[in-house]
Amino acid sequence: MAPAKKPDPKSDLPQGTLDMLILQIVALGPVHGYGIAQRLQQISRDVLQVQQGSLYPALHRLENRDLLAAEWRPSDTGREAKFYKLTAKGRAQLKHETASWARLSEAIQLILRAHEA
């Protein structure tokens, strides 16, 4: 990974999808902020560039909306780290957002294919 060199071309995240991605990652199990950032990059194979500048505010926002719960517990480094996990409300929200995303992308695909045809 070459952090100083930005992958090009990179895509901006559509508005509102960062929350969904975070919820999806946290759904896999309790994880800290750094872990979320790493996984976001791994999963998206370096196509999506998520700045820490927007990751942490998003995490805090989700925590405030009770979609995520946070807990300080010892981690592999020996220090305490803040671990996020999904709440019941968060799980429902994730389901809802995934469904609507699927609908949306399907609709967009349809339009694009129709155009091609």
């Binding site: 820490q52 942490y56 805090h60 780290a81």
Partner: protein
């Protein structure tokens, strides 16, 4: 965690945020190091990648959703610190705002009380005044039978009662009312019950809350007690609520008594008495228009039921929700004018504060730039500055409310005293002005609105300008200087105008206070003595008064005593027609005022005898009829020749049934009967020579006045002795004391209030102009820093720099002063009615105002000018270099 916990645990949350982000960085660094990067490089790259740590933190705090509260708390703390660090600025700002806001709140409290309040009664919107209606009890009864329109109809009239059965009595404001007055008005008694329809026994009355407190200490046993009105016993049955002062806004009452309760007190024939005011309460759901139409339809019936003699004109109904007020008509316009002036002063105050803040913002540029660089958004900085403004104006408002509380009461007191004069003898007609200027929701809301508006007005422009990410040097905004200068010119002009007005009023007051009275009011005590109404008519009253006089005359501490029909300074009330021989020219008129006095009158009052002799016991009923006239009389009827006056004859008509030719035996100096009016022709006749029957009638109605000259400095100390001496003569006599000296002081109250209010506004405007000039000059100096620095560096003298700065200021002040003088001259005619003995275009006053404004302006501007001349050159250039963009 709810929002309150989040707010309270802010610091813990901040620590956690810090730890979380640090953890992130540590892990990143560890990963890079594991990938083979040197430690220092790994740290650098991790930090770079992460971006601005503080900005991320700010955004995370934003995500908490409580930023508004958190920041407010922080802004407040910061504002307090900033304001405390600049005590000079803070004090000037708070005082400026306190007086501006206070003036507005005070005037608004008056306006509110007089114009906007609804009566403190049950459902005031259903209350109507019945006008165009001959208000007699029979009409009231007839109207009240229209039960589908009115749930109640009542009539009332105001009067003055002398309270007390004998000894020292007190004149109180009273209401005569028809049955059901309080029920119709919608007032529940604060204690006891309302008046019942008369069923024999002692007549009943209700007292006001204030009389209850002052006379009976608010004790419940006051109910059931008997008080005497004009010597007649009445039983107190109830107390009216504290806030209810009748339906006449601006007036109040102490006593409510049922009309016709006592024949000797009722005026005239009951049926024929048409002087009642009538009010009615509409039935639920009836609109004013519907009721008015219905009443007009049935007017013929209503009229017949009332006896047919009344109601010649169509009855009209007027909403009574706000009460009625003769004061409203008299004072509404002046009050609204003053309100407008106060508003103008407030606006100028806002602009001044804005200027001051702008000037200060130049000094805070560095601070704000640093704050911006540290991640504060523009909005955040602007809000911080607005919070500072709001805090200033809130402090100002707190001070302003105190000023308003005190000021509005002062004005009401002044107006009250003025009204006593307007009605002449205090006991005729309702005299007291009473305005409830306590702060109600309206006044508080008004003050809060003014406070916020003020803060936004004066704080917004500086906040926006100062929050620019990179404030450019002010010299780029040279074109924006023009409106600021215009403002200073307007301020100076307004100060000149207000100072001129204040000066004229002050001179007016001084002139009035220095008017020769023609008598010596100090060391004088005046007692109005009335005999009880039920005294036997056959008994002559004059001998009683003479015995009273003899009894008081021998008291230690009393040097002179005298009896008279009219008291000094209370207005003449006996107008007669005179014919002189030889006849005066026809066109001068033949009216003169007259007074009936006992021997010793002129000595007691200290009025100088100019020619001839004073009255003595020689001038008895059987002696030749004599008269003494004043100088004004001589001027009008005898062509001014005082010496010739003695020995002439005067025929007096209108005082007694017969015309009597009287010989002038003396001429006395003009003694004032009212401060503002020129002394009218006046003549004095010995009491002993008055027509017995007319005099007795007058004594029965109005009594006599006893004048007492004391040897000591404090005539009031004699009151107890005098009361005791008079009571020994006849315990039923009712006494009311007055002090001419106090009366003179009180009669200047209106002038004093006007001088005070205008002086207040003048000084406020002057202070605002001074602060404004200071701000503008400081701003200009800041802009011209480099120029001034260069001048100084090239060897320019500091005095030259000061001159440079002050010349500019002098132009502004000169323009403003010129405008102010022109406006004063133009508006002078509005003032002339309120002035006494001074021309509205008085050159000395105009000149003094200009000099005063110029002096204050010079002082205000010379502070920044002096600072400019002492510029530290090194600092000056370094500063300029730093702020170059």
């Amino acid at each position: 965690m709810n929002w309150w916990q989040r707010l309270r645990r802010r610091e813990a949350l901040d620590r956690q945020l810090d730890a979380e982000l640090r953890d992130h960085l540590e892990r990143q660094v560890a990963d890079y190091v594991a990938a083979g990067m040197p430690d220092a490089e790994a740290r650098r790259i991790a930090r770079l990648e992460f971006g601005g740590l503080e900005q991320v933190k700010e955004h995370c705090r934003d995500a908490r959703g409580l930023r508004v509260f958190e920041d407010l708390a922080r802004d407040l703390k910061y504002a307090v610190r900033t304001l405390r660090a600049n005590p000079g600025f803070t004090i000037v700002g708070v005082l400026t705002l306190a007086f501006s806001i206070g003036a507005n709140a005070a005037i608004f409290a008056l306006v509110n009380s007089l114009l906007f309040r609804t009566l403190p009664v049950d459902q005031p919107e259903r209350l109507v005044f019945v006008t165009n209606c001959t208000g007699s009890p029979r009409v009231v009864t007839s109207l009240s039978q229209e039960r589908d329109i009115f749930t109640g109809v009542a009539g009332w009239m105001t009067t003055q009662f002398s309270l007390g059965a004998g000894g020292e009595t007190e004149w109180v404001d009273g209401l005569w009312v028809t049955p059901g007055y309080l029920e119709t008005t919608g007032v529940n008694p604060a204690a006891g019950r309302t008046l019942r329809d008369r069923t024999g026994g002692a007549p009943e009355l209700m007292i006001s809350h204030s009389l209850w407190q002052s006379r009976f200490g608010g004790r419940l046993d006051a109910i059931g007690r008997t008080v005497a009105i004009a010597g007649e016993p009445f039983t107190i049955v109830g107390v009216t609520p504290r806030r209810f002062t009748g339906t006449d806004v601006g007036r109040t009452f102490d006593v409510i008594a049922p009309l016709g309760a006592n024949r000797s007190l009722a005026f005239g024939e009951q049926d024929g008495c048409g002087s009642l005011s009538v009010l009615a309460r509409l039935t639920d759901g009836t609109t004013l228009d519907a009721a008015a139409a219905a009443v007009r339809d049935r007017q013929v019936h209503i009229r017949e039921r009332a006896g047919g003699r009344f109601l010649p004109r169509p009855i009209t109904l007027v909403s009574a929700a706000g009460g009625s007020s003769d004061l409203r008509a008299r004072y509404a316009r002046p009050l609204l004018t003053i309100m407008a002036v106060a508003g103008l002063v407030l606006l100028i105050g806002c602009a001044t504060m804005g200027n001051l803040l702008l000037a200060r913002a130049a000094g805070r540029r560095h601070e704000l730039q640093v704050r911006h660089a540290l991640g504060a958004s523009r909005l955040r900085i602007a809000r911080q500055l607005l919070v500072e403004s709001l805090m200033l104006s809130t402090l100002g408002a707190a001070g302003g409310l105190a000023i308003a509380w005190w000021g509005s009461r002062l004005i009401v007191r002044g107006l009250g005293a003025e009204d006593v004069l307007a009605t002449g003898r205090a006991e005729f007609g309702s005299a007291r002005i009473f305005l409830d200027v306590s702060f109600d929701a309206h006044v508080i809301a008004f003050t809060i609105a003014v406070t916020i508006l003020t803060a936004v007005l004066f704080g917004l422009a500086p906040a926006i300008r100062a929050s620019r990410p990179a404030p450019r040097p002010l010299s780029r905004h040279r074109h924006q200087a023009a409106p600021v200068n215009g403002l200073v010119v307007a301020q100076v002009g307004l100060s000149v105008m207000l100072l001129v007005a204040a000066g004229l009023f002050l001179r007016s007051l001084a002139t009035l206070a220095g008017v020769p009275l023609g008598f010596e009011p100090e060391r004088m005590l005046v007692v109005d003595i009335a005999t009880p109404a039920s005294s036997a008519r056959s008994e002559r009253r004059l001998p009683i008064y003479e015995r009273v006089r003899d009894a008081v005359d021998v008291l230690p501490g009393v040097t002179e005593t005298t009896l008279s029909v009219s008291a000094p300074m209370m207005g003449w009330d006996l107008l007669v027609e005179v014919e002189t021989a030889p006849a005066a020219s026809r066109d001068v008129g033949s009216d003169s005022f007259a007074n009936l006095v006992s021997p010793g009158w002129f000595r007691t009052l200290g009025t100088r005898l100019i020619e001839g002799r004073a009255f003595s016991t020689v001038d008895s009923a059987v002696a030749p009829p004599v008269v003494i006239v004043n100088e004004a009389f001589v001027r009008q009827f005898f062509g001014g020749a005082v010496v010739d006056a003695v020995g002439r004859t005067v025929t007096i008509r209108g005082m007694e049934p017969d015309e009597i030719r009287r010989t002038v035996v003396g001429v006395v100096a003009d003694a004032l009967w009212s401060l503002r009016d020129p002394v009218p022709p006046g003549l004095y006749v010995p009491l002993a020579q008055a027509d017995e029957e007319s005099l007795e009638l007058r004594l029965e109605e109005q009594g006599l006045t006893l004048g007492v000259r004391a040897s000591g400095e404090t005539p009031a100390a004699l009151r107890q002795d005098v009361t005791a001496a008079i009571s020994r003569v006849d315990p039923r006599l009712m006494l009311t004391y007055r002090s001419p000296a106090e009366h003179i002081r009180a009669s200047l109250a209106q002038e004093r209030v006007i001088a005070l209010v205008s002086g207040f506004f003048a000084i406020l405007a002057l202070a605002l102009a001074a602060v404004g000039l200071y701000g503008v000059t400081a701003c200009a100096v800041a802009r011209q820093r480099t120029e001034i620095g260069v001048r100084l560096a090239l060897g320019g003298a500091p005095a030259e720099v000061m001159r440079l700065v002050l010349t500019r200021v002098a132009r502004l002040v000169g323009g403003g002063a010129l405008a102010g003088v022109a406006a004063s001259v133009w508006l002078s005619s509005f003032l002339s009615a309120l002035l006494y003995g001074v021309e509205p275009r008085d050159a000395a006053t105009l000149g003094a105002a200009v000099i005063m404004v110029a002096a204050v302006a010079g002082l205000a501007a010379s502070i920044p000018a002096y600072r400019a001349s002492r510029l530290n050159l090194a600092h000056c250039f370094r500063f300029e270099w730093l702020t170059k963009d």
